[in-house]
Structures are given as structure tokens and as C-alpha cells.
């Protein structure tokens, strides 16, 4: 209620600057004028000071005036020359009676759309499709000749792997949707698109499989997307933050991926994929916490290997969150919990260290985070310098100088590796961030503090939802049947049921009892 009111207030307040700002589509309801010259004049004033927009006037069939408007670099210029200008400029023996008919039937261009509204014309021009204005016509013609430089399909950088497809999404929406369509050929794959961003007019597409997805989920997603009023969308991260359930959470409630196979696997499980123009990272919703620690390769390798790696991840998830704080807690409060021989060697190496364990841990953890961040952001040529400085100066020299103890360096190193075990980078970051309050708690209350921190995190996770789905979903609330894909990775012939996102209907995804059981026919003599 209050939110609605404040929304209303905000809207009335913002109305004025809003109109002023968007002079490019100041009167979006305007239709094109009947007068050709006035239309050209309108476009010239709209594209005033836009040196990349080209106006090319010519004589249609040698007598009618016409102008083609396009943007350099967004439009296929050879196509304009070959398929538009050359057929339209030569003077045919028998001039076609209707221009409309000629354009629709005889022009060798894949799409020709009659556009009446000024705003639609502008949109068409901005997306690379030239507009043809003709004297005597009160409409423009949008010609499907968009073409711009794109990056080719490359291997996904952030999500590598040994087995599985090597193709990744890229920045072009069309290429991304085509990749989905190439994997899921059924027409049940639906892709709805909309434009978001007052200035960028970014195309955002919601893909789902009809019949598998809960239709209310798609409604909810499109509603939340429609509510976004923003200047521009540059990356799917904008959308993610605008539509997630709990904005004040370190944990991502929407997953991002740049792998088409991951996107398709999720589509097939009844989830929705949101593709944003201009970024290879597509969004997947709804997810649970366990989606973040599943990797695509779990499903491609043998199931025992997949299960083993999954458990390894669970263990290292714990390590990445708790190891430094456990070390601090034990050294500060619970000496007795360490076996005597181990305690002796630890305290021997800590003898020269001037700091208490908690300070030591914080120093090393922060240094590690700095090294990591610097390594990501740096140009590749300098990257090796950072790793040398990190390993030699900070690692070895600080131990030799007696500033930091060697066990602490080991702990921090293991923790660092552990946090990179998470297949989703964002989830790893969330845990890395939570490590610092955990260290502080461990330094003040020992094991009790750690337990308090863990309990607090669990409470938070329990109260989180991703598009209505509880975040810890198959585990709490417990859904026994779905544990086959959480606690272990069941072999494919056992994955008979879909996750229960889709509702009770359409529960089975494959025929039951497909376990390979070949008769040993050849051995009979």
C-alpha cells in the first residue's frame, strides 16, 4: 500500500524532467505526416547532430522523391545498394501502379514492414533497419537490412570445463536465442521479448518451455520486468538486482550463465531464462542454493564421479566459509581441541608473530582478496607480476620476516582455493565476503561465535526465496524425491521426475526403469 502510494508520488514528481529528458521520442504517439518533405524534416530534426545517421535522397523510378535513412555501421550498406537502390532507381518500362505492392512483392529484402508511427520508425532505424520514406506515402517502410559487427561464438571464459559443449553465449541477442533454438528444437520453446531502458532500449527476452514451466512464474517475471523504469540496461546484472526477491542478501537469487547447455538444462527443468542484449550472461530463475553448487559437468561425467565432486564441493564450501574462523577460534579459545603435537608445531611457528590470530587472519585474508581482485582487473601482461609479488613477497617473505605464521598462510591459501571450487563465481564471492564477519565472531566468542554466525546464515538462507521457491528447497522443506539431484547426482536413468517447480502435472521427464541391463547373450554357448 505504502509502496504504491510512494510510487504514485514519485511518478507525478518525475513526470516533468522525464519528458524533457527523452526528446528523442518526445511525442511517441505521433504518426507520420502525409507530406513527404515534412516527414524528412522531422527526421532531420530528430537526428540533429547525429553524424552517424545517413539520409540518402533519391528518385524512385526516376520521378518520385524518396529518402532512405540508416545508421552507418548498423546497416548492410551493400544490401542497400544492391537490393534497394538499384532496383528502385532504374527507370522501368512499366512503372508499377502501387508502390506498396512493389515493395512487398518485388523487393528482394527479407522483411519489409509498413510503419506508421514516428517512434516505431526511430526504433527501426536504431536497430539497424533502414527506413524508406516515399513522397505521397504517409508511412515509412522498415527494411530488414540490419547488420553489424558481432563477436563470433567463442568458448565461455568464466565457465570452462573438460567435457561438454564449447560454445558460449555472446553479446548478440539473436545469436543467443538461436543457440537455444538449436538445442531445443520443439516449438514449445517460447521466447517473449520486450524493450527496457529509456535510452538504451535494450531488448530483453524471456525464454521458457511451454508446458514445463509454471505459467504464473512467467507472468511474475514479465510483471517484474515491466516495472523496471531505468535509463539503461548494460548488463543482465541490472535486471538481476531489479527483479530479485530479497534485495538485501549476499546470495544471488537468480543464476547467471554464459553456457547455452546450462540454460537449456534449466529450461528443461521448468525454469525460465532471461536473455539480455549486449551481454553473454543470461539469467536463470527460479533457482535454489544448490543450483549454485552444481556444475554442468556433473551431468556429463559418470554419476559416481559427479557425486564425488559434488560432495567435494560441499566440503570445500564449508572450508571456504569456516576454515580461517575455526583456526582463529581454536587458537584463541580452544587450545585443548587441538592434538598436543599439532598444537606444539603451530605455536612454534607462531612464536615470532607479533599479532593475535584474529589480526593475522584478517591481514592475510584481505591481502588475498586484494590479490584476487587485482589479478582479475589487470591487463594480462602484468598479471604474472601480481602472482610473483603475491607468492614471493607476501607469502614467503612475510613468513620469513616473522610477521605472519606459516600455518596461517596455508589456511588462507586453502580457503582461497576452496572458494574457487564453487562453479558459480558469484556464490563464491558471497561466501568469501561472509568469511570476514565469521572471523570477527570467532575472535570474540570462539566456537560459540562461529555457531552463531552459521545459525544466522542458515536462518537467512531459510527465509530466502527465489520467485517463490524456498532457497534451500529440496533439503528444507524436505522433498525426498528431489534429493537425487542435490545430495548426489543420480544416474540419468534414475532421473525420472522433474523438480517440482512445474507443479504436479507433467512430473515425469522420461520413461521409468531405463537402467541399462543388457542380457549376456554372447556368453551363452
Amino acid at each position: 500500500m505504502i509502496r504504491n502510494v510512494s510510487r504514485l508520488v514519485r511518478k507525478t514528481k518525475e513526470k516533468k524532467p522525464h519528458v524533457q529528458k527523452n526528446h528523442d521520442d518526445s511525442k511517441p504517439q505521433d504518426t507520420l505526416h502525409k507530406n513527404y518533405y515534412q516527414n524528412v524534416e522531422t527526421f532531420r530534426s530528430v537526428y540533429n547532430n547525429c553524424s552517424d545517421v545517413m539520409f540518402r535522397p533519391f528518385l524512385l523510378f526516376g520521378k518520385t522523391k524518396a529518402t532512405i535513412i540508416y545508421i552507418k555501421g548498423l546497416t548492410n550498406i551493400e544490401g542497400i545498394e544492391e537490393f534497394v537502390l538499384s532496383p528502385l532507381m532504374n527507370e522501368p518500362n512499366n512503372v508499377p501502379s502501387s508502390i506498396n505492392e512493389f515493395l512487398e512483392n518485388k523487393m528482394p529484402v527479407s522483411t519489409v514492414i509498413r510503419v506508421n508511427m514516428l517512434a516505431d520508425c526511430i526504433e527501426s532505424i536504431s536497430s539497424g533497419n533502414p527506413i524508406l520514406l516515399i513522397e505521397g506515402e504517409s508511412a515509412g517502410f522498415s527494411l530488414g537490412l540490419a547488420k553489424w559487427e558481432k563477436r563470433g561464438i567463442e568458448e565461455p571464459i568464466a565457465e570452462g570445463g573438460i567435457r561438454g559443449s564449447r560454445e558460449g553465449f555472446n553479446e548478440s541477442l539473436e545469436i543467443n536465442t538461436s543457440q537455444l533454438r538449436r538445442i531445443i528444437k520443439s516449438p514449445a520453446l517460447k521466447i517473449q521479448s520486450m524493450k527496457i531502458g529509456n535510452y538504451t532500449k535494450t531488448t530483453v527476452a524471456v525464454a521458457y518451455i511451454d508446458g514445463l514451466v509454471d505459467q504464473t512464474l512467467i507472468e511474475e517475471i514479465t510483471n517484474r520486468l515491466k516495472k523496471i523504469e531505468i535509463d539503461g540496461i548494460l548488463e543482465s546484472g541490472y535486471i538481476e538486482e531489479m527483479i530479485e526477491d530479497n534485495p538485501y542478501s549476499p546470495f544471488p537469487q537468480i543464476m547467471s550463465t554464459e553456457r547455452p547447455d546450462i540454460a537449456c538444462a534449466n529450461l528443461l527443468e521448468g525454469r525460465a531464462v532471461i536473455i539480455v542484449e549486449g551481454t553473454p550472461f543470461t539469467l536463470i530463475a527460479p533457482i535454489s542454493f544448490f543450483s549454485l553448487i552444481q556444475s554442468h559437468e556433473d551431468y556429463y561425467q559418470r554419476f559416481m564421479v559427479g557425486t564425488f565432486i559434488r560432495w567435494l564441493r560441499f566440503v570445500f564450501l564449508g572450508i571456504s566459509l569456516l576454515l580461517p574462523s575455526l583456526y582463529v577460534a581454536i587458537l584463541t579459545f580452544h587450545h585443548e581441541a587441538v592434538p598436543t603435537s599439532l598444537l606444539l608445531s603451530i605455536s612454534a611457528s607462531r612464536e615470532a608473530v607479533p599479532f593475535p590470530a584474529i589480526v593475522e587472519a584478517l591481514i592475510m585474508e584481505i591481502t588475498f582478496e586484494a590479490l584476487r581482485e587485482a589479478g582479475v582487473r589487470l591487463p594480462k601482461q602484468i598479471g604474472s607480476a601480481v602472482s610473483i609479488v603475491g607468492a614471493l613477497v607476501i607469502g614467503q617473505a612475510s613468513v620469513q620476516a616473522g610477521l605472519v605464521s606459516a600455518p596461517m598462510v596455508i589456511v588462507v591459501a586453502i580457503t582461497g582455493i576452496a572458494s574457487f571450487m564453487m562453479p558459480r563465481y558469484v556464490a563464491g564471492i558471497a561466501l568469501r565476503m561472509l568469511r570476514f564477519p565469521m572471523i570477527l565472531l570467532a575472535g570474540t566468542l570462539g566456537l560459540l561465535g562461529i555457531m552463531m554466525g552459521v545459525i544466522a546464515i542458515v536462518i537467512h538462507l531459510c527465509s530466502l526465496r527465489s520467485f517463490g521457491i524456498p532457497y534451500l528447497s529440496p533439503l528444507a522443506p524436505l522433498k525426498g524425491r528431489e534429493l537425487k539431484d542435490v545430495l548426489w547426482r543420480a544416474p540419468w536413468w534414475m532421473m525420472d521426475t522433474r523438480p517440482r517447480l512445474t507443479g504436479e502435472s507433467n512430473l515425469y521427464r522420461q520413461a521409468p526403469e531405463q537402467a541399462p541391463n543388457p542380457k549376456r547373450g554372447s556368453e551363452t554357448e
Binding site: F333, H334, E336, A337, P339, S341, L342, L445, G446, L447, L448, I450, M451, M452, I455, A456, V458, I459, C462, S463, P470, L472, L475, A476, P477, L478
Partner: protein
């Protein structure tokens, strides 16, 4: 008030640590004082109180399916008396919750964080519980579900690890002094079993209503089994010395030694035990907050969660002036107090409610 829904299984998983968490800590030694080497029989007798309480709570729930005891007591004994009874329950749960938090904090301060002010430990726990109570019953249920294996499996592992130290002959002679010592020993654990009455506050939120009774009984049985096993373990390890230990299970953990490297598991046991206690306090806290809201006819209990948290921490000091009082309260007061409030009064309510319903049917 509360829009969340839980399953009967979730209720069982919430109730189990609610009873067991504190019961496995101090109760074995108290039982041992009265029952000596028959202490393992005491929970079996005590559990009958549990079954009866579950049955009474379920009966009341069936008569008034959408309400808790705070609400329907007004229908049964009239508005004015009902409010008084409601206040009695309110006061009971606030005070008992305060007592539990105090017991928890005393244990932590006694055994681990000797120099930490006790109020810090109590306040931090109350804060965490307020956090989860604010999240609602669904969040508590999910957290309980998640922590349940964390709480149960380590106890099983602990038992396996101390197996080499078992002296099985400690169990003999069985019932040397007749049946009375274990019966006397059952009085104190009986107090814990009366806490099953709290399911009356959870039952209205259960999806699969019919299973409420079944899972309540299963929980009571599971608690009984756990206590029997814990008492047996303590008896096997310490024998006649059990009664002299304050926290026998914790002392058992000290006996663990694997390859002379993994030793001194007390802090691990403590960490695990905190999880159970956390669930216990959360459930009590939730019941307190919910019943207060119901008593005041509030539309939501969330606004009063934080004030009640402060009240609970204050009650930690008010209800128990010093450490000695805890044991006195647990032995001398709670078995009777809990029994009256959580079993006898509900029993009377059932009788009156059945009577009333029959009467109103006759008049119609």
C-alpha cells in the same frame, strides 16, 4: 497472524530438539541420583506423560482446529477466566524460556567461555532466536530440518566412538530396589515430556492435519529412545559415578580418543549442542510471541518479537537468581509446575470442552 504452513514431519523435527536438547545435558545425572543404575528405565516411565500430553493436545486441537489454547480457553471457561488462564500460559512460557536461556548461558560460561559476561551470551542467543522467530514458523521449521541431522548424527558418532570405554556390567543389578527408584527418577524427565503440550500452538499450522497425532507420538517415542540411549551410555561409561557429574554427556565426550590424535571433543559437542538449544529456544520464543499476540488480539505477532526478546533476557535474571537455583528449579519446581500447566489444566479443559459441546448439542 501466521500465514505459514508446515508439515507434520516438520513439526516432529521441530519438537524433537525442543525436548531433547536440554534433556540430554543435565537430566541423566539428576535421574541417576534417584534411580542409580536403573536410570535408563526412568525415561520410559516419564514418556507416558509425553504420550498423554500429546493425546490431550491433539484432542483439544480437534475440538478447536484453528485455534491455540490462548484462544479457545475463552470459549471453554468464559472470556474473563479464559484471559486469566491465557495470561498464566503467557507467563509460564516467558518464564520458562528465560530459564532455558539462562541454563544454556550458564553451561557455556561454566564450561567454555569462562571470562565472557553471561549477559553477552544470553543476549546473542536471544537476538538470533528473535531473528528466526521474525521469519515465521516456516523458517523455523526449515532451519530445524536442516539442523536435525547436524544434531543427531554427531550424537550417534559420539556413542560409537566411546564404545571402547563401555562397562556393560554397570547395568546390573536391574531393579535391585524394586520399581520405585526409577519411578522417582522419572519425575524430572517427566517435566520435559510435558513440554509436548506446545504442539497445540503448532498444530493449527499443519498441512496434513490428520498426521499431527501420529507424528506427535512418534516424536515422544523418539525422545524416549534418545534419553534411554543417552542414559545407558552415561551409565556404561561412569557407572555409579554418574550422579556426581553435572553434565555427564559432556564428560563422556572427554573419553574419546582416536589414534591418540583426535581427542578432546568437548568443544565440538558444545557446538552441536548449541544448534539443538537454538531450535529449542526458538520454538519456545515463537510460542511465547505467538501466544502473547493471540492474548492481546493482535493481527500479527512480528511487532512484539523484539520487545519480548528483551523481556526474555531480563527474565533470565529474574526467574533464576543464581546458578544453584537452576538445579533446584529443574528438580523441585518444574516437574510439578510444567505438569500442572501443560498436562493437568489442558486435561481439565478437554473434559470441560467435551462436556460443553455435548451440552450445546443437547440444547440444539
Amino acid at each position: 497472524m501466521e500465514k505459514g504452513k508446515i508439515s507434520a514431519l516438520q513439526m516432529a523435527i521441530m519438537m524433537y530438539p525442543t525436548i531433547v536438547a536440554t534433556a540430554i545435558l543435565g537430566v541423566p545425572s539428576i535421574t541417576a541420583k534417584y534411580a542409580q543404575n536403573d536410570l535408563w528405565l526412568a525415561p520410559i516411565f516419564a514418556s507416558f506423560i509425553g504420550y498423554v500430553t500429546v493425546y490431550i493436545a491433539y484432542k483439544l486441537h480437534k475440538l478447536y482446529p484453528k485455534q491455540s489454547v490462548i484462544q479457545f480457553s475463552e470459549y471453554i471457561i468464559g472470556r474473563f477466566l479464559g484471559k486469566i488462564l491465557g495470561f498464566l500460559y503467557l507467563f509460564f512460557y516467558i518464564q520458562v524460556t528465560g530459564e532455558i536461556i539462562r541454563e544454556y548461558a550458564e553451561f557455556i560460561v561454566d564450561s567454555f567461555l569462562v571470562r565472557t559476561p553471561i549477559s553477552v551470551i544470553m543476549a546473542s542467543m536471544a537476538f538470533l532466536c528473535a531473528f528466526i522467530v521474525y521469519g515465521g514458523i516456516e523458517v523455523i521449521a526449515r532451519a530445524a530440518q536442516l539442523f536435525f541431522p547436524l544434531f543427531v548424527f554427531p550424537i550417534l558418532i559420539l556413542i560409537i566412538l566411546v564404545l571402547p570405554d563401555f562397562e556393560f556390567k554397570n547395568i546390573f543389578p536391574i531393579l535391585a530396589d524394586g520399581i520405585w527408584p526409577p519411578m522417582k527418577g522419572a519425575i524430572v524427565p517427566g517435566g520435559w515430556f510435558t513440554e509436548f503440550f506446545m504442539i497445540i500452538f503448532l498444530l493449527p499450522f499443519i498441512k496434513d492435519r490428520k498426521k499431527g497425532m501420529k507424528y506427535g507420538m512418534i516424536t515422544a517415542f523418539a525422545v524416549m529412545m534418545t534419553l534411554v540411549v543417552v542414559n545407558l551410555v552415561v551409565l556404561f561409561v561412569f557407572g555409579p559415578a554418574t550422579a556426581s557429574k553435572v553434565y555427564p554427556l559432556m564428560n563422556v565426550a572427554r573419553y574419546i580418543s582416536i589414534a591418540e590424535f583426535f581427542e578432546h571433543f568437548e568443544s565440538v559437542v558444545m557446538a552441536i549442542w548449541i544448534v539443538g538449544t537454538f531450535i529449542k529456544i526458538s520454538v519456545f520464543y515463537y510460542v511465547t510471541a505467538l501466544s502473547t499476540a493471540q492474548w492481546l488480539n493482535l493481527s500479527d505477532y512480528r511487532p512484539i518479537v523484539w520487545p519480548i526478546g528483551i523481556l526474555l533476557v531480563v527474565f533470565c535474571f529474574w526467574s533464576i537468581p543464581n546458578t544453584l537455583e537452576i538445579e533446584r528449579f529443574n528438580i523441585g519446581v518444574f516437574p510439578l509446575y510444567g505438569f500442572i500447566v501443560q498436562t493437568i489444566i489442558p486435561l481439565l479443559l478437554v473434559v470441560m470442552a467435551v462436556f460443553r459441546k455435548r451440552k450445546s448439542k443437547e440444547t440444539v
